[in-house]
Symmetry: C2
Subunit: 249 residues, 2 copies
């Protein structure tokens, strides 16, 4: 027997299963990811927010709890990416020594279940929170290395996001409630990682009827102020009822 059977396992960590979260944000220019940093011998090392689950906890709940504990972000919809479980995932020495310092069983085989989400960066400024020292937005394209297998997880998350945005209007989660078509345009270009013709993009979005234009314009900008739009959830739901699941980008 490898572990004792407890009838009441509440509040007991499961040493074999963790969750990690890939949180994307958009600064109107490029995609960012929320990472936490830890000190290591050779400087700062970034990691995705993640930790072991409790034995009686739903995976989805665990992801939400861990994210909140490490970054303060609460009540966001996390979607599962998949499980990552290379038995040799702890290959770097810095990972090993860090685990020694935080885990009761640093040598245990861990498989991790990864989640991703898209949030409005304006809603979450790590600088302003009590977690300021540990959580940080980093442009996705600048990341070269992360702890454990987190870099792999990030790549998978990017690919999944790219796939998903062609199928569901998740992009709107990255923008404020009121946004301009240019912002939306830039967002799609960032995620799909290719240029999209401005006029064709606008035409397509407007034809789909998934945005509604407000009576309001940008102000204070040193150029022609843009019309503001909102995501039109109702029209989108109508679309899906006819089996719509392809935005055609």
């Amino acid at each position: 027997m490898r572990k004792e059977i407890k009838k009441n396992a509440t509040l007991e960590l499961n040493p074999n299963v963790s969750v990690d979260c890939v949180i994307f944000g958009f600064d109107f220019d490029k995609l960012n990811v929320l990472v936490i940093n830890r000190e290591s011998v050779d400087g700062v090392q970034w990691a995705l927010p993640g930790n072991l689950i409790y034995d009686d906890e739903h995976l989805d709940q665990a992801a939400n709890r861990v994210l909140a504990e490490l970054t303060g972000l609460k009540h966001i919809y996390l979607e599962q990416i998949g499980a990552f479980g290379d038995p040799n995932r702890i290959s770097k020495e810095s990972d090993r020594s860090w685990l020694q310092s935080i885990r009761a069983q640093p040598e245990a085989r861990v498989i991790t279940v990864a989640y991703f989400s898209l949030v409005k960066m304006e809603d979450y400024q790590p600088q302003a929170s009590s977690f300021a020292k540990s959580a940080e937005w980093i442009p996705v394209n600048e990341i070269r290395e992360l702890a454990f297998d987190h870099f792999d997880i990030l790549q998978t998350a990017k690919a999944r996001l790219k796939q998903m945005i062609k199928i569901r209007p998740i992009g709107f989660n990255l923008l404020p409630e009121k946004f301009t078509l240019s912002q939306l345009h830039k967002l799609y270009e960032s995620i799909l990682d290719k240029p999209l013709d401005k006029r064709n993009f606008r035409r397509k979005i407007q034809k789909l009827n998934i945005v509604m234009s407000l009576e309001e314009k940008q102000s204070g900008v040193p150029h022609k102020p843009s019309q503001l739009f909102m995501f039109d959830k109702e029209h989108y739901l109508l679309l899906t009822q006819n089996g719509f699941d392809n935005f055609g980008f």
Copy 2:
């Protein structure tokens, strides 16, 4: 400490992590799934082939091993669907009692990592193998219940398959090397669960250049014999190099 730390964990099962496999087959008429059956108090109960992983084993390897052990199927490409881990997944009494009979720690919290694959049914006839008594093809649409959370897993696998076939030519894995366009057509209809116009379907497939027609026809059929085709991998790879990832169904 919940379990002892072993330096050499080889051949030791990890009580918290299992894998389950959803294997789809196509009988030229409808989709089928490979299930194993177990005896229970109230008759026969079907389950997906699955079991605990070893502590030092890659998840993907574990899935292949378990599948081979339970069904004899080897060397097939399994793609991960995701992790399923409701702490209450063992809700049915029959599940509980079955676990008692096969697991060292029947009460342990298990999260399972699900995989799916598509195979040619002709390549695998459970009746003919030594596993005949336990493995069986069942039409997907006739399945109403499975052990544990396997029914959920199956639904997720179906949805994933539907998504995937619009993006990658995985359907060909379900057909023999030489097939007719009608078979391919029926396959797409089965997976997408909607009728597709025959002529438009054929036009699209042929325009994409992903099938090549052979010099060979069906024979022995009591009607006009059909041209045989093969999947044209080379042309498909060319397509992907231009970023092609949408078959437009």
